[in-house]
Structure formats: structure tokens, C-alpha cells
Amino acid sequence: MLKYSIKRLLQSLVTLFIIITIVFLLMRLMPEEGYFGDEFDKLDVAQREAILASMGLRDPIHIQLGNFYKDLFSGDLGTSIIYRPKVPITEIIADKLPYSLYFGLVAMGISLLAGIPLGALMARSKNKLWDKLGTGYIVFINAVPAAVYFLFLQLYVTDIFKLPILFRPDKPVSWILPAISMALGSTAHYAMWMRRYMVDEINKDYVRLARAKGLRNQTIMLKHVFRNAFVPMAQYLPTSLLFTIAGSIYIESLYSIPGMGGLLVDVIQRQDNSLVQALVLIFSSIGIFGLFLGDILMAIFDPRINLQKKEGAR
């Protein structure tokens, strides 16, 4: 187990290294006005070149990359250019991170608590009313772009329950709707897979045997079917934090929550290159880390998984 974890961790680190390098190289192709802020139009070409050179952007690419890694290891992501000029990016992110983390975790909790029972319920009443309702919900969430239903939720639910339209740190009521909206996507995801795995498991021989032994339906469901169906789900647990990323980009900027997702939209619209780069790197690292945790978690939940055997793409 330990050996597997270390091997898997090393693999993730290599992937992280490759991705950071690729992202860094791609970022050199970014629109150059993103390095100047408001003065861009006032400067002539020579002045622009001078500024870019002073930022080290005219050095050969391998020296730039080396400097970038040197800064990265000392925990320096550079400074913001336009969003909050001259403020270190780490400081900006430290302000934003608690909000994103809070909403991400709450949304994940809600989606687990709602999605898994929903999926189990759908599997038990296959082709009956609950199954059909649940399928309708899953189809809707998967097919309709999140932007559309998020907008309508914000529009009408705040109207009906007289909630504040925007997020207010001092008003806990205004925290509820963003968290629930954010959870909708992964709830559908959990319900869909839970249903599929449960239906697969119910038809297996060991369930028939358990039934023949005279076990109660509830015991079979909880102790046998659920345990087996949950294993593939365990892998999604950390990844569902990622699912909230896409959600959080919308939700945070729709409700003006001062988090990282909203920040990304802000800095893209204002073309702050250094912040875009830092945020893309952070989100990618979260992605890699999430998949790593998922693999470890799955190995813990299912002792049958052969850790040493190298698997191809899943």
C-alpha cells in the first residue's frame, strides 16, 4: 500500500512538472497588452519593449523557465499587474481561498448526502416513479448548460424566498443558495453512477445467494450491494471537488462571492496575465492532486484491487 502510494505520488509529481512547463510555455503566447495595465496605449513600441525586457520576458525561453521554477520553489507566484497592481499573487489568493474552500466543501457534502441516497432509491425502484423523476433530473442537469439554470435559480428562488440576490459575508442566509446551486451538478453525477452500479450489482450471483439465505432486503442492500457499488464512487470523491471548480467559476461571479473562481473570470476579463497564469496552475494542480487522492481512496475501499499491477487508461 505504502509502496503503491509513493509510486503513484511520484507519477503525479512528474505529471505536475510536465503540466506546469507546458502551461508556462503556452503562457508566453498570451496577448502582450496583458503585461501593462492601463498605460498600454500611452506607451510607444520602444517603451513597451523596455518594460517587457525589464520583466525578463525578452530573455531566452529556457532562462525564463529556470527563473520561473526558482520563484515557484520559494513560494513566489509573482505580482498582479492590473487586478491589484504590485500586490503579490500569494496574498491575493490567501484572501480568496477560504471562500472557495468553504463553498467547495459544503457543496461536496450536500451532493454526497443527496446524490447517493437518490441513486440508491432510483436503483431500488427501477422503471418506477422515483427512477423516472430522478432520470429527468439527471438528463436536465447534464444537458442544459449550467449557466442557464444557475441564472434562473438565482432569479426566481431569491424572489420567492426573499433572499438577497448577491452574497453578503455578514448574512448567512445569502450563503445557502450558492452552495446548493453548486451541488446540483455533482449530485446528478453521484446519483447517476450510484444507480448504474447498484443495478449492476443487484443482478449478481452473490445477491441471489444472500436472498436465498433469507436475508432481509435492507440488509442485502446496505451490507452487500452498497459496499460494492460504493467502491467505484470513492474514486470520484476528490474529483467532485474539481467539479465544483467549474461550478464555482459561474456561481462565485454570479453571486459576487470573493473566491478563486470569480477571481479567474475577473482577471480574464481584465487581461491580467500573471494572475491568469497563477490561477491556471493552481487549478491544474488541484486536478492532479484530486485524481491522486481518488486512486488511493479507491485502493483503501476495495482490498481486491491489485496495487502493483500497472493499469492503462481507465
Binding site: 503525479s12 505529471t15 510536465i18 503540466i19 502551461v23 503556452l26 503562457m27 503566447l29 498570451m30 496577448p31 438528463v139 436536465f140 447534464n142 444537458a143 442544459v144 448548460p145 449550467a146 449557466a147 442557464v148 441564472l151 434562473f152 432569479l155 440576490i165 474539481l242 471548480i245 467549474a246 467559476i249 459561474y250 461571479s253 479567474l264 473570470v265 480574464i268 476579463q269 491568469v276 491556471v280 487549478f283 491544474s284 488541484i286 486536478g287 492532479i288 485524481l291 492503462g312 487508461a313
Partner: protein
């Protein structure tokens, strides 16, 4: 028969054994022959699902309508700004009526015309992305599955790309390449083909060494026939499903990119642009029709393609054929 003396063997064989037999359906059924056709069976299973059939007819109508709409009489131009004759100002935020069926937007453009023009743009993006995804995905996936030395390198590349959230790749590419129709289609293809390739690869690895394929090979079936008759029917359902789902996904990504400011220029109407325009006005309840109409059209289109894709993929699976 035995006692009759014949001089030549061929004299004893009755000539009518060499006549062509006629085809009799009843007889054929008794002998176990079936004139099974893959596509006809797929179609029959598909139309058994009434919902899918209705949606198919609906979507065909929408597709035809978006193409012929500009040529119909009494249609307005999607980008023309209409002037209110009594005031001489722009006819802004005009309520839906018999003249402007879906009303006008804040600068006096006809929303009905803009929605159909936008649907055209969005469907174009969706179909282009679906097509290119399939093209690249099938090619890479087939190489990945068939050519054994390529398995490791492509798997590593897959692991790297798959580790990064799709939305982040999309944002990064469109940000670097500057917004536009080509950029958008390119970026979506870059993120989409990887899933298609993985599905194709997994399926090929599973079925390429199955006994029935070995048997076919031993009986001397040419490779081309093995691919088209033995492998393709299995792949078709997955490929069609991915292509059908690529359309709602691409439309959704278009809305997303527009929302974060990396979408098409406002001069090109698209469903994303229309929803974004409507969003800016949503705080005024009387103007919400500008958000609701495009959102409704968009939802109907995405749900239809999603449902049709799933039903078709079930129908295309030979195991579900009778």
C-alpha cells in the same frame, strides 16, 4: 437408383438441381435465415422510443428551419437596428407583439431573428466540434488500440491531459488565441477528442481478440470486412453517443466562454451571446423575456440532442436488437 446403369456420372444428375431457387420468406424463416440489416434494426429499435422519435422530428424541423428562416417572407435581419417611427429613436426593449414575435433587445434588434441566427451559429459550433472530435478521436483511438508499441506513449499523454480540468484547458486556449469562431471550435476539439479516443481504444482492445474475430480471421475473412462487420457495429453506438453529446456540450461551453468574456464578438449572434445580453437585463422583471426566450430554445435543443444520443446509442448496440 443403384440398379440403373449409367455410362457417364453427369447423366444421372437431374438438371433442375442447377436452377436458381426462388426466395420464399416463409421457407427462409423455417431454415433460420434472416435478412438482418444492422442499420434497419437500429432504426427499428430507435423509433420504438416515442419520445426520441418526437425529438428527432422536432430537431430535424429546427435544423431545416434555421437554414431556410432568412429566406422566408417577412423575416427581419438579425443585426439590423430598428427605429421607432414616432420618436425617431432606436426601438429598444420593445415587448413581444405580432410585429416582433420575441420583442426587440436594448438596441432595437429583432430577438426572433437573432435567436434563429444564434441557433445556426451554435449548431454549427456543435456539429463541427462533434465531427472533428470523432475524426481525431477515432484515428488516435484506433492507433492506440491496434498498434501495441504506441500504447504506452499515448497512455502517458492521455494521463497528462486528463489530469487538468477541461474548463481550464478551454479557458487557457481561448485566452491565448484570442476569441473567435475558429478559436472556439479548435479549443473544444482539443479537449473533446481525448474521451472519444479512450472509448474507442478500450473497445478495440476488448473485442479485437475475441473468439468470433479469431474465427473470422481463420475462415479467411478479409481485414476490411472484419473491421466493418465485426468491430464497427460495436463502435458505432459509442461514436454516435459521443458525437450526439458533443453538441449540447459544445453549446454549453459556448455559453460558458461567452459568460467569462472569451466568447464570440457581439456582432455575431449566438445563443451564448443572446443569453449574456439577456442576463444583463434580468433585474428588470418586464425585460426578462430577453433572457427566457433564448434560454428556452437552448434548453430544448440541448435536451433533445442529449436524449436522442442516449436512445440512439442503446439502439445501435447489436445486443439490443431482436
Amino acid at each position: 437408383m443403384g440398379s440403373k446403369a449409367i455410362s457417364k456420372l453427369s447423366d444421372g444428375i437431374s438438371q433442375d438441381l442447377f436452377e436458381f431457387a426462388g426466395y420464399d420468406e416463409e421457407e427462409a424463416k423455417r431454415a433460420g435465415y434472416s435478412n438482418y440489416s444492422y442499420w434497419r434494426s437500429t432504426w427499428q429499435v430507435f423509433i420504438k422510443n416515442r419520445v426520441a422519435l418526437v425529438l428527432l422530428i422536432l430537431m430535424t424541423t429546427v435544423l431545416v428551419f434555421t437554414l431556410i428562416q432568412p429566406y422566408l417572407p417577412n423575416q427581419k435581419l438579425p443585426t439590423k437596428i430598428y427605429i421607432d417611427e414616432s420618436t425617431g429613436m432606436q426601438l429598444s426593449n420593445h415587448k413581444p407583439d405580432s410585429e416582433f414575435w420575441f420583442g426587440t433587445n436594448s438596441i432595437g434588434q429583432d430577438i426572433w431573428a437573432r435567436i434563429w441566427s444564434g441557433t445556426r451559429t451554435s449548431l454549427l459550433i456543435g456539429l463541427a466540434v462533434g465531427f472533428f472530435e470523432a475524426l481525431v478521436g477515432i484515428t488516435v483511438g484506433a492507433m492506440w488500440g491496434y498498434i501495441r508499441p504506441l500504447d504506452r506513449p499515448i497512455t502517458e499523454v492521455y494521463n497528462v491531459i486528463n489530469n487538468v480540468p477541461k474548463t481550464i484547458i478551454l479557458i487557457l486556449l481561448t485566452y491565448i488565441m484570442r476569441p473567435g469562431l475558429g478559436t472556439m471550435i479548435f479549443a473544444m476539439c482539443m479537449t473533446g477528442w481525448i474521451n472519444m479516443a479512450r472509448f474507442v481504444r478500450n473497445l478495440i482492445i476488448i473485442i479485437r481478440d475475441r473468439e468470433y474475430n479469431l474465427a473470422s480471421k481463420c475462415l479467411g475473412t478479409p481485414t476490411r470486412r472484419i473491421i466493418t462487420k465485426n468491430l464497427l457495429p460495436y463502435l458505432v453506438s459509442v461514436i454516435m453517443l459521443r458525437m450526439a453529446l458533443a453538441i449540447p456540450l459544445a453549446i454549453g461551453y459556448e455559453v460558458f466562454l461567452t459568460y467569462i468574456g472569451l466568447g464570440l464578438p457581439v456582432s455575431i449572434p449566438s445563443l451564448g451571446n443572446l443569453i449574456n445580453e439577456g442576463r444583463l437585463l434580468m433585474m428588470a422583471p418586464s425585460l426578462r423575456y430577453q433572457l427566457i426566450f433564448p434560454a428556452l430554445v437552448l434548453s430544448i435543443i440541448t435536451i433533445s440532442f442529449y436524449v436522442m444520443g442516449n436512445v440512439f446509442s442503446d439502439a445501435a448496440d447489436p445486443r439490443n436488437h431482436v
